[in-house]
């Protein structure tokens, strides 16, 4: 089994490499000349050429790739053109915000989504099921940013329950921290709950129709044990996969939510960087995102081998 784990980790390495190469390619696609951007439009051709040489842009593409990968290996993800810091430090500063937001939303999404999905599956084809599924469908169809804005208008401007923007660090004031995050995290999870409920429902339905559920009942086990132990343990496998997807989706969704609620997170950083044409920052952040997602997938994959004994010996 340990060999399997090592194998899976080893498999992630080429993916990481691939992601790095893709991020590098991103830079190649960029319109305009980074050297000109740095040196300034008014600079003389010699100055521009000098900048280009210092950036290594006059070398062949493969050499540039090598240079790029070398920098990465040393932990150098590039520096921002607009902000006066390295990509890594810019991200590190904003990491707590995004972590708080996605963490909180996941903490809401997981129990609620699973519970709703399980209930809908158990009461399939009754009004409970239809209601839940309709709600989930609506949740998946409405644009998050739109609802977010409407929510801000309702809860912040009209009702004044929550601050409409800004973030308070947890260590500074836990109560205010929560208050500043409840609405954004709530909106973020609203859309994910729908997805998770649907996934859990179909996973549970699939499992509940399996023969071993009948065997469990034939043994005289109560419904609670049958569903809670036998059915759920199997549906868990799919739920684990779903959680991985949810986490990635939450990170993606945080981009828009942070923008609407003006939370100084990584998502907001990347959008501002794009609008300001701060390409090294965009590229660096994308790369960090990439590594994060590979790590998430790897973790889910490993969790999978713990949950499903059938996968372990392959």
């Amino acid at each position: 089994m340990n060999r399997l784990i090592a194998y899976k980790i080893a498999q992630a390495v080429p993916v990481v490499l691939l992601v790095s190469v893709l991020a590098f390619l991103l830079m190649l696609l960029l319109p305009g000349d980074p050297a000109v951007v740095i040196a300034g439009e008014q600079a003389s051709p010699e100055a521009i050429a000098a900048v280009r040489r210092s950036l290594g842009l006059d070398r062949p593409v493969l050499a540039q790739l090598g240079l790029w990968l070398g920098h990465l290996a040393q932990g150098d993800f590039g520096s921002s053109l607009v902000l006066n810091q390295t990509v890594l430090s810019a991200v590190a500063e904003r990491l707590p915000v995004t972590l708080s937001l996605t963490g909180l939303s996941l903490a809401i999404t997981l129990p609620v989504g699973i519970a709703i999905g399980a209930i809908a599956a158990y009461h399939r084809q009754t009004w409970v099921d239809s209601l839940v599924m309709s709600a989930a469908l609506v949740g998946v169809s409405i644009p998050a940013f739109w609802i977010a804005i409407l929510a801000v208008i309702l809860f912040c401007v009209i009702l004044g329950w929550f601050p409409s923007s800004g973030y308070v660090p947890l260590l500074q004031d836990p109560a205010l921290w929560l208050q500043s995050l409840v609405l954004p995290a709530g909106i973020l999870s609203l859309f994910q709950i729908g997805f998770l409920a649907r996934m859990t429902r179909s996973a549970m339905l699939d499992v509940l129709s399996q023969d071993f559920i009948r065997t469990a009942r034939a043994k005289g086990l109560s419904e609670w044990v049958t569903v809670g132990k036998h059915a759920f343990r199997n549906a868990l496998i799919l739920v684990i996969t779903a959680t991985g997807i949810l986490l990635s989706a939450a990170i993606g969704g945080s981009v828009v939510i942070e923008q609407v609620f003006a939370l100084p997170g990584i998502g907001r950083l990347v959008v501002q960087a794009i609008l300001a044409r701060d390409y090294p920052l965009v590229q660096g952040v994308m790369l960090i995102y990439g590594f994060t997602f590979v790590a998430i997938n790897l973790t889910v994959d490993l969790a999978y081998t713990y949950a499903d004994p059938r996968v372990r010996y392959d």
């Binding site: 399996q210 023969d211 009942r217 034939a218 043994k219 005289g220 086990l221 036998h230 059938r310």
Partner: protein, 329 residues
Amino acid sequence: MTALVSVQDLTVQFRTDRGWITAIEDVSFDIAEGDCLGMVGESGSGKSVTALSMLRLHAKGSSRIVSGRIVHAGQDLLQAEEAELRRIRGRDIAMVFQDPMSSLNPVLTICDQISETLRLHQGLSRPQARQRAIELLDLVRIPDARRRVDEYPHRLSGGMRQRVMIAIAIACRPRLLIADEPTTALDVTIQAQVLELLRELRAELGMAVLLISHDLGVIAEFARRVIVMYAGRIVEEAPVGTLFRAPRHPYTEGLMAAVPALDAGPNDEPLRLQAIPGRIPDPSEPIAGCRFGPRCRHAQASCHAAAPALVSIADGHRLRCTPRSGGSA
């Protein structure tokens, strides 16, 4: 003397796209203590439906029991409370299903799945249950039980999984074991082993066995008494010898004749396979008379007009056929 389980006038319906259809109708039979009953019929004849009804294992929304009683230890199982039913399942009446791979939970160990029953019905502690589980695996002749008990179902072969299912079923020494096509999904050699095992366990534990199969060979090998089902009804019930040597119902006759013979005809020519003409009726289409009528060689006008009743024609021999049981044309 009172039967262990007495099924009386059982009628079960299923919900389909086309409405409620009757799966089994007026099914009545008794199982005595230590009985060895076989139930045979084609796919769709209602054998499994009957078996599942005995423990009320049907899906709640899509099936309903229209009428009938299933009497065990003085109470009607069909009317019993859920809690009471759960006490009986696995403890007094146990069941073994057809496909051992899908009938065992893939993410739980063998030990866990056997121990569950023991801890539930006999209140054993975890270590006690584990020990007993190992003993049970030995009883069903699984080699290396001590190691095997901690494995997952997918690591075992089909025959071994079925033995595990049997171990789970007999764990609490049930009075009745219902085996629904236990050998159908197995190779022939393994089939023989599992049947042998069932026979031995029956003798050792003194339990009654209801063996359901579409395979006449299996029934002939194992059962003492046989019930033949067709299109949701019992058409004949007889001791196994009588049924195979002198069947009275045209359908049973047809079944026996359809078994390929190894010997040749009178002039040494190979014998043709005798098939029963026609097909089993669509359960959603009601038939006024005998359900086998349309396919029966001996059918008379009265057969199509009214459905014959199941009558006793000899000791232990019941028949549902007007012309054959002496009814007039």
